[in-house]
């Protein structure tokens, strides 16, 4: 059975690769490369896989899920500048794709110590764009 917990946070970022010139960054990322940055409302849906416990009827305590998501996502990223304040985005471009990969990397070891397993994550950047990531294959 799958269980999905949704949380949100807001952060600023600038999409530009240090390996590209300013002109190339503008060509690749467009407005997202604005040197002064901009922000988004991110929504993260974290899906876990597990079986309901025969006694409690729960896969995992949802309070524990919330604590993990607040520790690993909200506290370090909410109302922050991703490029300047959240590793590894000082050297990795904080696209929504890379953000999903980083969130997976942070969550996977935390859920490995719970009765549930991390199954997939969906990161929404604003209303009209989202990515799904199921971990390194």
């Amino acid at each position: 059975m799958l269980i999905t917990r949704r949380i949100d946070f807001s952060a600023s970022h600038r999409c530009a690769s240090p390996q590209l010139s300013e002109a190339e960054n503008l060509a690749v990322f467009g407005d997202e490369a604005n040197p002064r940055g901009h922000g988004h409302n991110y929504v993260v849906e974290v899906t876990l896989d597990g079986q309901a416990d025969a006694v409690t009827g729960m896969i995992i305590d949802l309070k524990e899920v919330k604590t993990i998501l607040e520790d690993e996502i909200v506290r370090p990223m909410d109302h922050r500048n991703l490029n300047h304040e959240v590793a590894p985005f000082d050297s990795v471009t904080p696209t929504v794709e890379n953000l999903a990969i980083e969130i997976w990397r942070r969550l996977e070891p935390r859920f490995a110590m719970t009765p549930a397993r991390l199954h997939s994550i969906r990161v929404h950047e604003g209303e009209d764009l989202y990515v799904d990531y199921g971990g390194p294959r």
Binding site: M1, I3, I7, G57
Partner: protein, 162 residues
């Protein structure tokens, strides 16, 4: 014809109290926290029912939606909407009505009624999802052993009766 998945949404509002009868009051309070409040609390549940099949060559539909609606309303929505799950739904007499268990119960009920309400319909139940709140969503496949065991037991009862 390629297979298509169709998802239909339904809503129902119920009260529940998370309490496992085999545990002490103190253990129940520790495990379920505010969800163990003796007076109960409620949710506006959103149920998504996903069916899979080939679109009919004549109608272009995977299955007649009115039949699916009738089935889901009869076995899940009408019995549970504006009801207390713990005291008014048989399956929860001795089972904590977590949304994990609610997903199993709803999937079993739909799966059991399927051959009787939709005879000859090739489409099959694929999965259901229940949103307890906008933040907590539970999904179970119709192929999950917890759903199939219940359905097989019901078929057995049906055979014994007839």
């Amino acid at each position: 014809m390629p297979a298509v998945r169709l998802t239909r949404r339904y809503r129902f509002s119920s009260s529940h109290r998370l309490h496992a009868p085999v545990l002490s009051d103190e253990e129940n309070r520790r495990i379920y926290g505010k969800c163990n409040n003796p007076y109960g609390h409620g949710h506006d549940y959103l149920l998504e029912v996903t069916v899979e099949g080939e679109a009919d060559a004549r109608t272009g539909r995977v299955l007649p939606l009115a039949l699916l609606d009738g089935l889901v309303r009869r076995v899940v929505i009408e019995p549970m909407d504006r009801r207390d799950l713990n005291t008014e739904i048989d399956e929860f007499a001795a089972l904590a009505p977590t949304t994990e268990n609610l997903a199993v119960v709803a999937a079993r009920r739909i799966s059991e009624a399927w051959p009787h309400v939709l005879p000859g319909v090739a489409a099959r139940l694929d999965k259901i999802r229940i949103h307890e709140t906008r933040n907590n969503i539970f999904e179970i496949s119709a192929a999950d052993p917890a759903v199939r065991q219940g359905s097989e037991a019901a078929e057995q009862r049906q055979r014994v009766k007839t």
